[in-house]
C-alpha cells in the first residue's frame, strides 16, 4: 500500500497542488461573496447611523454618507432613555450570567462525574428542555407571574429584574450541556488522584475542573451573556415602562416614534446595542467558537 502510495504521490503531486490552488482561489471568491452578504446589514447600520434625518429623507444615495455626523451618537449617549436601556440590559445580562454559572457548573460537575437516581436521564434530558421554547412558555409564565403579583403584592411584572428569573431558562440548558462535555473529557485519573491525596469534592471542582475546563466556562459565559443581551420576546411581554426596558425591546418600541421616524438614531441605537456582544466576541472569539464546537467534536 505504502509503496503504491509513494509511487502514486509524486505522479499526482503537481496536480494536487494545482487542484488545491484552484480550490483555494474559488474558495476565496465565494467567501468574499458571502462576507459581503453577511456584512451588508451591519455596514448599512453604520452608514445610516452617520446620516442626518434630512439626508435620509432625501434618499439620494443610500449606500454612502455625504455629510457624516456624529450627532446621532451624541444624542443617544446623552438620552436618558437609552442610558436606562443600556444599564438595564447590562444589569440583567451580567446577573443572568452569574446565576447561570452558579447553576450550570455544579450541575454539570454532578452529572458528568457522579451518579444519583435519574442522573443519566437528566444529563441527556437537560438538552430536551429546549423542546419547550420560550414562545410556548411566555403566555403561561406571564399568567403565573401576574397571578403571583395579584396575590402576594410582589410586583413580578414591569420590572427589569423579573427577567433575571426567566433568562436562566434560556441559558442554563445549553451551558450545562457544554460543561458536561468539557468535564466528561477531563481524565478520571486526575480527580481520583486528587481524591486519594485527600481532597474533598469541592476542592476537586475548584482546583482541578474549573481551571482545566476554563475555555468551556468562558465559552458558556459568553453564550449566556449574548443570549441574555439579545432576548426580545420576554422583555416585550414582561416590561412596559420606559425605565424598565432593556435594549432590544426598548430600541424597537420606544426609540422608534412610529409615525415620526428617526431612522438615523434607530440604526445608531441598534449598532450601539449590538456593541457589547460584538466586542466580547472580537476579543474572545476563539473561546466562543471552541466552546460551541465542543459539543460537535466531543458530544
Amino acid at each position: 500500500m505504502s509503496a503504491v502510495a509513494m509511487e502514486a504521490r509524486p505522479a499526482k503531486r503537481g496536480s494536487i497542488s494545482k487542484d488545491r490552488k484552484k480550490a483555494m482561489y474559488w474558495s476565496y471568491f465565494f467567501l468574499m461573496l458571502f462576507v459581503l452578504f453577511f456584512l451588508t446589514p451591519p455596514l448599512y447600520m453604520l452608514i445610516m447611523s452617520l446620516k442626518t434625518s434630512g439626508e435620509i429623507a432625501e434618499a439620494r444615495f443610500p449606500w454612502w454618507v455625504f455629510h457624516p455626523t456624529l450627532d446621532n451618537y451624541w444624542s443617544l449617549l446623552g438620552s436618558e432613555n437609552f442610558q436606562n436601556f443600556f444599564i438595564n440590559s447590562a444589569l440583567v445580562s451580567l446577573s443572568t450570567v452569574v446565576v447561570t454559572m452558579l447553576i450550570s457548573i455544579p450541575a454539570a460537575f454532578s452529572l458528568s462525574r457522579m451518579k444519583f437516581w435519574g442522573s443519566s436521564t437528566l444529563a441527556a434530558g437537560v438538552f430536551l428542555t429546549y423542546l419547550i421554547p420560550e414562545t410556548l412558555l411566555f403566555i403561561p409564565l406571564f399568567k403565573i407571574f401576574s397571578w403571583v403579583t395579584e396575590f402576594t403584592g410582589i410586583e413580578l411584572v414591569n420590572h427589569w429584574w423579573v427577567l433575571i428569573f426567566i433568562y436562566p431558562t434560556l441559558t442554563v440548558p445549553f451551558c450545562t450541556w457544554i460543561m458536561i462535555g468539557y468535564f466528561a473529557s477531563i481524565p478520571k485519573e486526575l480527580d481520583e488522584a486528587a481524591l486519594i491525596d485527600g481532597a474533598g469534592w469541592l476542592q476537586v471542582l475548584t482546583r482541578i475542573f474549573i481551571p482545566v475546563a476554563l475555555p468551556g466556562i468562558i465559552a458558556a459565559t459568553i453564550f449566556a451573556f449574548t443570549v441574555s443581551w439579545a432576548d426580545f420576546l420576554y422583555p416585550l411581554v414582561f416590561t412596559t415602562s420606559a425605565d424598565q426596558l432593556v435594549l432590544p425591546a426598548g430600541i424597537v418600541t420606544t426609540l422608534i416614534k412610529g409615525d415620526v421616524f428617526e431612522w438615523g438614531r434607530i440604526m445608531t441605537a441598534a449598532l450601539l446595542g449590538a456593541m457589547p456582544p460584538l466586542l466580547i466576541y472580537a476579543f474572545l472569539m476563539d473561546y466562543y467558537i471552541a466552546g460551541l464546537t465542543a459539543g460537535a467534536t466531543k458530544g
Binding site: A59, W63, F116, I196, F232, A270
Partner: protein, 305 residues
C-alpha cells in the same frame, strides 16, 4: 510490590464505596438548582399552559377541548401551521447547506487565514437579532429600500419585499438564514477538521472526485453533528419570534404568521390568553416528532459504535 497492590486496591475500593454513598447526596444537591429551575420555570408553566388551553377566554370556565375545536375549524390556523413548517424546514435546509458549503470554503484556505474569515462570517450570529432585523427592515422599506435603489439603477422594478406575500415569505426566510447560517458554519467547520485526512487520500486513490468524497467520506463522518445541529436549529427556527415580528408582524394578510407571532397576537394583543396558549402548545407535538426521529437516529448510531 505484589503484596502492596492488593492492599492499595482494597483501600481504594473501601474508600470509594464510602465516597459513593456520600456521592449521590452531594451529586443531587449540586444538581438541585438545575432541577428546580427547570421544574418551576419550564415544566410547570408548560403543564399550566395545558390547563390554560382548556379555559374560556375570560378564564372563568372550563371548556375542555373547545378551544382546540375552535382553532381546528379556522382556515387561518391551518395556514399558520403550514407557514410555520415551510418557514422552519426551508430555513433550516438553507442554513445547513450554506453552513456546509461555507465550511468547505473556509477549510480550503490556509489555516492561518481561516481565523480572520471565520471571524467575519460569524458576525450575523453575534448581533442581537432584534437589532439586525431592524437594519433588514429598513433595507426592505417600501419607501427607502436600499435594495430597490440598486435594482432601479439597473432599470429593474421595485420589489415589494414586505408587502407581497411571496416576497414577504422570502424576506423572512432570507433574514433567518442570514442570521443562522454562521452557527452551522462553525459547527461544520469544526467537524470537518476532525475528519481524518487519510480517509480523503484513500478515497482519492480509489479515484473519487470531490462530489464522491463528500458523499462517501465527509457526510457519514459528520452524521451525528449534522443531526444535532439540524434538530437544534429546527426547534429554534420553528419557535422564532423576533424576525417575523419586527419585519412583517405576520402580514401581509397573515401570510407570514408563524406559531409564535400568532400566539402573541391572539393571546396578548387580542386579550385571549387561553387561545394563545393553544396555538403555542401546538408547536410541541410537531417538535416532539421531529426530535424523536432525529434523536433515534443518533442513538442508533451510538449503539452501533
Amino acid at each position: 510490590m505484589a503484596l502492596a497492590i492488593p492492599h492499595q486496591r482494597v483501600a481504594k475500593r473501601g474508600g470509594l464505596r464510602r465516597l459513593a454513598r456520600r456521592k449521590s447526596t452531594v451529586a443531587f444537591a449540586l444538581a438541585l438548582p438545575l432541577i428546580i429551575l427547570i421544574a418551576s420555570l419550564v415544566v410547570y408553566p408548560a403543564l399550566y399552559s395545558l390547563h390554560l388551553a382548556t379555559l374560556n377566554k375570560s378564564m372563568e370556565h372550563f371548556v375542555g377541548l373547545g378551544n382546540f375545536e375552535f382553532l381546528f375549524k379556522r382556515d387561518l390556523f391551518w395556514m399558520v401551521v403550514k407557514q410555520s413548517c415551510i418557514f422552519a424546514i426551508s430555513a433550516v435546509i438553507f442554513k445547513a447547506l450554506t453552513g456546509f458549503v461555507l465550511a468547505h470554503f473556509v477549510h480550503n484556505i490556509p489555516t492561518k487565514k481561516q481565523r480572520k474569515w471565520r471571524g467575519m462570517l460569524l458576525i450575523p450570529w453575534v448581533i442581537p437579532p432584534a437589532m439586525s432585523t431592524l437594519a433588514w427592515f429598513w433595507l426592505f422599506d417600501p419607501s427607502y429600500s436600499a435594495f430597490n435603489w440598486i435594482l432601479n439603477r439597473f432599470h429593474l422594478d421595485n420589489v415589494n419585499w414586505l408587502g407581497e406575500p411571496g416576497w414577504a415569505r422570502f424576506s423572512v426566510i432570507l433574514v433567518n438564514v442570514w442570521y443562522g447560517a454562521p452557527f452551522f458554519l462553525i459547527m461544520y467547520l469544526a467537524a470537518l477538521k476532525s475528519v481524518p485526512e487519510q480517509l480523503y487520500e484513500a478515497a482519492a486513490i480509489d479515484g473519487a472526485n470531490w462530489w464522491q468524497k463528500i458523499w462517501y467520506v465527509t457526510l457519514p463522518m459528520m452524521r451525528n453533528i449534522i443531526s444535532i445541529t439540524v434538530l437544534f436549529s429546527l426547534i429554534v427556527t420553528f419557535a422564532n419570534f423576533d424576525i417575523v415580528r419586527i419585519l412583517t408582524a405576520g402580514g401581509p394578510i397573515d401570510q407570514t404568521h408563524i406559531f409564535a407571532t400568532w400566539a402573541f397576537k391572539l393571546g396578548i394583543e387580542g386579550n385571549d390568553i387561553p387561545l394563545g396558549a393553544c396555538v403555542s402548545l401546538f408547536m410541541f407535538p410537531i417538535l416532539g416528532v421531529a426530535a424523536w426521529f432525529i434523536l433515534r437516529d443518533i442513538s442508533v448510531r451510538g449503539n452501533e459504535a
